[in-house]
């Protein structure tokens, strides 16, 4: 595939707020858009916001948003020159990336080889070690089958250890082992789960960090060998490995400490010939960073980096896919202020059960530094078929305290009727002194939920 491939029409292989976000970026660049949709999304206003909308299948994602052939057919029919996968669904599917490019279109993301390498956690770790990116202690090779060899590796790393599926990610396919007595059985169980869930039984083992924070570094790379990192984010506020609140920059981490890590990420991208945007995810504990995985796509939380860096990440994706060279170099990247993103989910704030139904009233917060990325409106029917994310509240302030206060006010003025959402939980969380202080670890939210009787 040549490094330059101009296109004037983009098919968006996704739904909801991210589909709308990509439509907006395309429109601002003068590109035509095609949105594919399922039966459930057929009548959504956002689906009609594109220049063209094509229903590709029934409501179940497996028959629509995950149906590669149906998406490729829609792309061919519409004359699209490129496919933007958004996040989730097929965004990190190497076969889909290859199929798009084999069909003569541009996949707006990395090539299949890069996706496959980073999707295999052992290969990814190996690549990161080679590039000098700090990794969690543990070998960058597949765990052997022989029990004595497994015990020897765990003993060398030191308990507690974590056993992970090479094909896993996003918190799936992993098991913590506290001591040797449970080791062999834990490995056996995880191996079987990995084989069923990810199609490969390959495992690896690492040191289990007990109180880490989740820190990520956003990178942007073109096809001419140029790459920059756009600052860092803290996504430690999680429940069951699902991020709830994200912020940029990560509080309490000096530029002197994270600068070399960002540079190592850039070098890693250049070494593997990475194209497009990507996110290096790290655990951070006791002043040290440990690489856990790279996401080869746009992240849900990309807006906090956009707000602090002033870079439109989606537009940059499109420009890189067109073969343009990056218009910025690292010294041009200057992050200002502090940004916070709250994920507004259609779910019960106490039980976290999904809440489907019709939104009867909607009043979005407005004001300086406030941005809401959403596809919903009054009258919108929240479908039970998909992820419960219905909006993202992004707030930018001059510093963290200012951003926190603006977020409190924005959450207070966010009105949504007809279904239950996690807005009450978010309002309460932003009054929590420890969260306001910052630097809480990835277990904090679940502990906090337990103290208030929900988890």
């Amino acid at each position: 595939m040549p490094s330059t491939q101009r296109f004037d029409k983009v098919l968006i292989a996704n739904r909801g707020e991210i589909a709308l976000r990509v439509v907006r970026a395309c429109r601002e660049m003068g590109l035509k858009t095609v949105v594919v949709c399922s039966e459930a999304d057929r009548h959504s206003t956002y689906a009609r916001s594109a220049d063209q909308s094509i229903c590709i299948g029934p409501s179940a994602a497996s028959k629509s948003y995950l149906n590669q052939n149906a998406i490729l057919l829609a792309a061919r029919l519409s004359g699209a020159g490129a496919v933007h996968p958004g996040y989730g669904f097929l965004s990190e599917n190497a076969r889909f990336s290859a199929a798009v490019e084999d069909a003569g279109m541009r996949f707006i993301g990395p090539d299949a080889d890069a996706i496959a390498t980073m999707g295999d956690k052992i290969a990814a770790k190996s690549a990161m070690v080679a590039a000098g990116v700090p990794c969690v202690p543990g070998p960058d090779t597949e765990l052997p089958v022989e029990p004595n060899l497994i015990r020897a590796i765990a003993s060398e790393i030191g308990y507690p250890v974590i056993v992970k599926a090479a094909g896993g990610g996003g918190g799936r396919g992993m098991r913590v082992v506290l001591d040797e007595a449970d080791l062999v059985e834990a490995v056996s169980l995880t191996r079987e789960e990995a084989r069923k869930a990810f199609g490969t039984p390959a495992l690896y083992m690492e040191k289990f960090l007990q109180h880490p924070r989740h820190i990520e570094i956003q990178v942007l790379c073109d096809t001419h060998g140029n790459a920059v990192w756009l600052g860092h984010r803290d996504c430690s506020m999680q429940r069951r490995h699902q991020k709830v609140v994200e912020e940029a920059p990560a509080p309490g981490i000096s530029e002197a400490l994270i600068g070399p890590v960002g540079e190592a990420c850039v070098q890693a991208c250049q070494q593997i010939g990475y194209r497009g945007v990507g996110t290096f995810e790290f655990l951070y504990e006791d002043g040290a960073f440990y690489f856990i995985e790279m996401n080869t796509r746009l992240q849900v939380e990309h807006p906090v980096t956009e707000e602090t860096s002033g870079v439109d990440i989606v537009q940059q994706q499109l420009r890189v896919a067109q073969g343009e060279a990056l218009s910025m170099s690292q010294p041009d990247v200057v992050c200002k202020g502090h940004a916070i993103e709250c994920r507004i989910n259609a779910e019960d704030p106490a039980t976290f059960m999904p809440s489907a139904g019709i939104i009867t009233a909607l009043e979005l917060p407005q004001g300086e530094g406030i941005r809401v990325d959403t596809h919903v409106e009054a009258g919108y029917k929240v479908s039970p078929y998909y992820d419960s994310l219905i909006a993202k509240l992004i707030v930018h302030g001059r510093d963290r305290a200012d951003a926190m206060q603006r977020t409190r006010l924005a959450l207070a003025s966010f009105k949504l009727g007809g279904i239950t959402t996690n807005l009450p939980l978010l309002r309460e969380l932003f009054e929590d002194p420890a969260f306001a202080q910052g630097e809480t670890d990835i277990h904090y939210l679940e502990k906090w939920l337990k103290t208030r009787g929900t988890a």
Partner: protein
Amino acid sequence: MSKLDLSDPAIIERLTAVLEAAGVEGIEITQPDQSLLIRLSGSANGSARQMRSGKPDAAGTPVVVKAPMAGEFWPSDLSRTGAPDVSAASGTVGFLRVGPILLPLVAGPLKRLRRHLAEQGTIVGFGDPIAEVEPEA
């Protein structure tokens, strides 16, 4: 439209895979010297792929035929001349052009075409209304 070699196993295999992925139960392709009929019996969902809405058996009640997949709508088979393509006998109310393939849209036997609901040459999506039919008197 380029001509397919309908005896090529690779073509048949690829067509079958595409039909399965699209949830289509079958396809019939006819060329002057070759014809191919693929029927995917026991397909994943087992549903009829000529989607309809309305009460099909109620006398005089129109039934809407919907597209079973995305494609370019053609009310008749442009590769043929002289033959009536939209007929009560075959129950065909139009075609979806999908790359080199024309997929017949079948309303079922003893149905009379009342009107087309899609314009010729337009791209239709899964479930889009194609035609309105009614039982023959």
